[in-house]
């Protein structure tokens, strides 16, 4: 039974992954990713990690991929991309080398079996029944790590406040750059525009770069 479930979900995972690579349309690629993530969730259930499976479906398949789709559709790239062009020169060959070495490392670890030194067992290391795992995680979160959970709430609040502050309209005129005025610095009234301005400002500012070099020397 286990073997059958494993084989079926493995096929689902692998066809999904292949689909992400092959699909010409980015939206289809994102949907294939959902298929892969669901397959992985089934594998988690098979390992009695029910909580992880639920998180996998809710967070990855539910939230992350939806965000992907948002970005794809908002940016209007929901059409086939020309994959013949390399955006960064030499990117593909480097990616191939890095990917191959990662695969090599993984295989080494799996086949040779490096036995890394670890310490005592963690709070959620001992796996019991299916419910046990979820309960243990919940207990650990609300006893040992309750302060961390609360702090995460504060962290998210800070991030939201920060994003709102940065995304606000700028009142009044922008101050000119002291050395080189950036062409697009006049009309930046939202965060994304400001962000791109910065990129050009840092890149196009010969004085700042010269300054940096001077400091390095």
């Amino acid at each position: 039974m286990d073997a059958a479930v494993f084989i079926v979900s493995a096929v689902v995972v692998l066809t999904g992954a292949a689909g992400v690579l092959v699909a010409r349309n980015p939206v289809h690629a994102a949907l294939f990713l959902v298929q892969t993530l669901f397959g992985v969730a089934v594998l988690f259930v098979l390992q009695d990690a029910t909580f992880l499976a639920a998180v996998q479906v809710i967070v990855y398949a539910g939230a992350v991929v939806i965000l992907f789709l948002f970005v794809i559709m908002l940016l209007g790239v929901d059409r086939a991309e020309d994959l013949g062009i390399e955006p960064i020169a030499g990117q593909r060959s480097v990616a191939a080398i890095v990917g191959a070495s990662m695969l090599g490392l993984l295989l080494t670890v799996l086949l040779v079996g490096v036995d890394g030194p670890t310490g005592a067992r963690g709070a959620n290391a001992a796996l019991g029944g299916a419910e046990d795992n979820t309960r243990r995680l919940g207990e650990a979160l609300f006893t040992d790590h309750v302060f961390a959970v609360e702090l995460t709430a504060l962290l998210l609040t800070v991030a939201v406040v920060g994003a709102v502050v940065l995304a606000r309209r700028v009142r009044g005129p922008l101050q000119p750059m002291p050395v080189v005025t950036v062409a697009s610095a006049t009309g930046s009234d939202d965060a994304s525009a400001t962000g791109s301005d910065e990129a050009t400002a840092t890149g196009d500012d010969p004085a700042a770069e010269a300054d940096d070099e001077g400091e390095a020397g």
Binding site: G116, P117, T118, G119, A120, R121, G122, E139, F142, T143, D144, H145, V146, F147, A148, L151, T152, L154, L155, T157, V158, A159, V161, G162, V165, L166, R168, V170, R171, G172, P173, L174, Q175, M177, P178, V182, A185, T194, G195, D197, E198, A199, A201, T202, A208, G214, E215
Partner: protein
Amino acid sequence: MLAVATPEVLWWALLPVLFLSVGGLLLLTVASLVRRLPDWLPQAWTVVTGLAVLVACVPMWCEVRDEGPRTTLAGSVAVDGSTVLVTAVLAAVVVAVALLARPYLRREDLPGVEVYVLLMLSAAGGVVMASADDLIVLFLGLEILSIAVYVLAALHLRRIESQEGAMKYFVLGAFASAFLLYGMALVYGATGSTRLALVAEHLSATVLVDDSMLLAGIALLLVGLAFKVAAVPFHAWTPDVYQGSPTPVVAWMAAGVKAAGFAAMVRVLVTSLGTHASDWAPPVGVLAVASVLVGAVVAVLQTDVRRMLAYSSVAHAGFLLLGVQAADADGTAAVYAYLVVYALLATGSFAVLTVMGGDGDAAHHLDDYRGLARRRPVLAGAFTLLLLGQAGVPFTGGFVAKLGVLAAAVADRGYWVAGLAMLGAAAAAFVYLRILVSMYLEDPDAEAADGSTGPAVPLGARVVIGVACAGVLFVGLVPGPLLDLARDAVPVLVGS
């Protein structure tokens, strides 16, 4: 359902975090609901919150002194002398920055609530860092502190340099956080716990056959923390960010962020990984010497006073690391004493810079300080005292602080490290001398000489500069109380 035993909470020990976070969020809520908030309210609210934290620190200090250090929330928060001392430093800096911020915001015509909200939230993160007895809590505290500071750095929305500096700080800071997190994961993998007390217990009870994972973890932790405190070679963001950010915010970065970073570094390295001090102390020594030398030498080459002070803050980070690499109680006490003195020096100095910046926060060139002594003798005198303090001249607090860390390094037989650091201190003195020469010996520009009396000094800045100068002088003349305080603040590990 089985009842779950929830951990015991010492509410009085959490008061600083609660005051700062609730204070910030309350101000945010009120400001978003009320259409026209009175102009003075956000500042007054921040000052009151900061003072409330300072007041709350007094009974905490007495409690810790009488009853001994302890942990709370299942061992994830340490309540000891270092927690209270660093909390008090952070709260004092918050008050000072709030006092500086309002005239600055009015001069630059910037909206006036976010600064205070983010400042208080950032300080809450700093307090969490200072009291973290758990790697996860430490990381969350650091992120709360950092994200608020990234936004604060970009807060001058109309100055492109502010945006540029914030962008650099954010990108590099995110990298550093990733390093730190990876280091924490490896340390957890090697020791089986994120609780600092349990990490120390495990390391003292067992001898690791292969400690490569632990050492890699420590190295990555060191990278992440060294970035936060701006130690060479992780200092590259400092000059641009100090130059671009609103000047009151720079005071917070220099005094507050550094204090929180060093508190965390001391707790993680010295107290928790103390058994492996022979592994991490030499690299920290190298970082210390590199920071002092590079900071001092490169500062000499600058012509912008904010960049000068940025590099001098790098040099100060080097001196603080000198105390850390001694890896004993004396070194730690010296670090805390240095932190207190540096908080005074940095807030005072950047208060002067806030005043000097003028419209647009742009007048920070060395030439803008020409003849300041003739135009604004009191301001120039105060700045002189603060610069002499930074240089470590005797009878100022800076001397006491530098002497402490150098003595700790020498006692630990780090003669080379201490010698090179003294060389760096001598080079750094030249930087401060350059500003002094410009203020006292050079004639003011023609336009400035035409009867203008220099920048107006608002009341808040007067208070901050005055208190900073008085503090620096007091510590320089009567160092005993601060040194006793710092010795009592050395963190102790309490098993949970």
